[in-house]
């Protein structure tokens, strides 16, 4: 148990050290003092306002990470979360702006539309894989670009807000479809945020999704089948899991979660879909899922770290260091992490084999030869 904990911690620590070292070398190469830069980064995250920004940014990253992780868990690579969430968001934005409903139902309606559309779009690569054996990685990459084309087409034509002809964007959602901010409930608990700071309500959605993900994957039969299918498809098959049904269920659920992730920017921040809408959220989700090792706890940490680096980098121009060092830090962290996980996994496996061999030998030595037979 103790050893498992060491192995679990070794990889992220190694990756963090490697990422910081490489970033420090990059800083030294351009003639900056890394310590000054890192201090500026720390100061940039060390305020209530910054922490709120980080949490607001991390919440959709987290849900997107969960969406991707669900498919990764069963060995499916849903690279298409990006296209799924954008298609879901654009249809949900248009559908939400087109109706008048009382507040809680309106929010729920928009969320359901987004999840349904994104899930349906994710069903395409699933169906192609199940019926035609098409590799889901390639299919989802193609579908990402197709979604880019379709969303651009939709906001330029059918879903365009006629009041703002110069901008290709949807009509803004009415107030009844906004997720309320969390400032007031936080005040009840004695947390007073600065007046300009808004803690977005999507945080609650993210937390609930995380809990739901944990229960689904680790406490239900479906979750067990999912994990078995990922770890050993043959074992899953012989235990009676229908692989095709499993693929369809997982990828549709993964897509629906991706659609939910897009609701962060839509319901809590921008309230419309346009060019300003974040585009690479799906790829951030992949990074966060990989960093968090597909575990709801790990992904939460990874989402906060990822958003934290973004916020920290904003403090760099003040000390004359390019903000892009944050991207280097993120990239090297991701690459170092996937390498470290693999190295530690292999090292752990070798250690296990060694242990087993040593145990067998010890057993053999302690038991007299004649006794071993009985």
């Amino acid at each position: 148990m103790r050893r498992r904990l060491v192995y679990a911690l070794a990889a992220p620590v190694l990756a963090g050290v490697a990422a910081l070292t490489i970033s420090a070398i990059a800083l030294l190469a351009i003639g900056e003092n890394p310590l000054d830069a890192f201090r500026a980064m720390w100061e940039s995250v060390n305020s209530a306002d910054s922490v709120t920004t980080i949490i607001n940014t991390a919440a959709p990253y987290y849900v997107m990470g969960l969406a991707v992780a669900l498919s990764f868990k069963m060995g499916l690579f849903n690279i298409g979360a990006d296209g799924q969430f954008r298609l879901g968001a654009v249809v949900a934005a248009a559908a939400g702006a087109a109706v008048t409903l009382p507040a809680p139902i309106h929010v729920l309606y928009v969320i359901l539309v987004a999840m349904a559309v994104a899930g349906a779009y994710a069903a395409i690569p699933g169906a192609l894989k199940v019926t035609r054996g098409v590799n889901e990685v390639v299919a989802t990459i193609m579908l990402n670009f197709i979604a880019t084309g379709i969303t651009a087409y939709l906001i330029a034509t059918h879903f365009r807000d006629p009041k703002i002809p110069e901008q290709a964007q949807t009509k803004p959602l009415p107030k009844s479809a906004w997720l309320p901010a969390l400032n007031r409930p936080l005040r009840w608990f004695g947390y007073h945020l600065p007046s300009q700071t808004v803690m977005q309500g999507f945080l609650i959605v993210a937390i609930l999704t995380g809990v739901g993900f944990f229960l689904l994957v680790y406490k239900t039969r479906f979750g067990f089948d999912l994990r078995t299918s990922g770890a050993n498809p043959r074992a899953a098959l012989s235990s009676g899991v229908n692989p095709n049904a499993m693929i369809m269920k997982t990828i549709i659920l993964s897509g629906a979660l991706a659609g939910l992730a897009g609701m962060g920017p839509l319901l809590s921040d921008l309230h419309l879909y346009g060019d300003i809408f974040p585009t690479a959220l799906g790829f951030t989700g992949i990074a966060v899922a990989l960093l968090g090792r597909n575990h709801p706890g790990g992904i939460a940490l990874a989402a906060v770290v990822w958003a934290g680096i973004e916020q920290a980098a904003r403090g760099l121009p003040a000390v004359g260091v390019p903000q892009e060092i944050g991207k280097i830090l993120q990239g090297t962290l991701l690459l170092a992490a996937v390498v470290a996980f693999e190295v530690v996994r292999r090292y752990g496996q070798a250690a296990q084999v060694r242990d087993a061999a040593a145990k067998a030998e010890a057993l053999h030595r302690n038991v007299p030869l004649g006794m071993a037979a009985t």
Binding site: M142, G149, Y153, L335, V338
Partner: protein, 438 residues
Amino acid sequence: MTATTSPPSNALNNAFDRTRTALDDSPPYVRPLLYAFGGLAVLSIVRIIAGAPEMTAGTTFIAAIAAMSPIVFAALGGLFSERVGVVNIGLEGMMILGTWFAGWAGWHWGPWAAVVAGAFGGALGGLLLAFVTVTFGVDQIVAGIAINLIAPGVTRFLSSELFVGRADGSITSSPAMSGTVQRFTFPFIAGGSFFGWHTPDPLGWLDKRRWFLVSDIAALGRGFTTSLAFTTILALVMLPVSGYVLWRTRFGLRLRSIGEKPSAADSLGVAVYRMKYIGVTIGGALAGLGGAWLAIDVRAYNQDQTAGRGFQGLAALIFGNWRPAGIGAGAGVFAFAQSLTQRAGTAPVRALFLLAMLIAVVLAVFLFARHRLPQAFGAIVIGGLAYLYYLSSKKHGVNNQIVFITPYVVTLLVLTFASQHLRPPAAEGRPWRKGDIT
């Protein structure tokens, strides 16, 4: 028992196999020529029906051949990488590195230095992919995604240091390249100059007549002979060169053997790890050349210049069944659709949808004759959608975004309907450790 199930001799097989045609026994260059001829004939009919003569004008093909080059480079990059068994999702990232290095070197020393530097930048990306997947055995898809995420960050960081505040450089673009790459037009057939003498341009003359098929063939000929940038010629030459290296040399045989069965190659003394490194790095260099092509084309590095061409290259690689000739065809089709959108007037783009409808109908009839009813139904649905858009675009005009998705839709359709004809390298995607028996 074994006697009855063993395959009959080849001649006997040919005699009894009804699907075998004269085409199968003809020399290897006949089939692609026939396809090209047939394709042009269909295009010619479509442009006449749709009243869009500029659809197959020489200028369209000249633009298409140029637009094809970066896709060809990217796809060849993927070919070298995947032929040694490493799936390359990171092509886009390697191309981005290529554009940056090309922009930097081109600003200092001109376009030819940009070509070299672009290849170098892409090779760095390839080396990183090889390092992570071969030495550490990290999942290849994961590593490729990581490279795509890292490359834009690295180039932006480098731009902030080396471009901001220098000449007309900025965080998103390099200073303009010094000098341009030379262009070449063939004399006597496309009107290029011959020792200072402006030769006649018979292809251009034929192209202008807009005769059925004849003019279209001339126009395609102009595409391959008129105003070719030397970087474009390099791309076109790399197609047969790659084919030769991979299929006609000892080195190529070794590379491909690793993508098919690494343990067998290992047992025969091929240095599997080293060859994997070489293949993936060459692939990266080729993708980098694609990036260099883009930077040289507009004489500067610009952020997001690649605009998904790495993925289009991946699509062309799959469309082309992991072979150079197929890659050329795939890249050509994608580039043709792109060059149509860039041309003024909506008629040619609308004609494209009419073309899609016709292809779908032909395909449906063909599939129906082969009793593949679900596929035939799918083809009819797709053809119907294309025709609906063709009709609606008459009133609402066309949206270039819809054409933008063509390469991706085509690739998905090929994957869906022709996946049984695709044959990727057998060991693709699987990490291999020395001692593994797969």
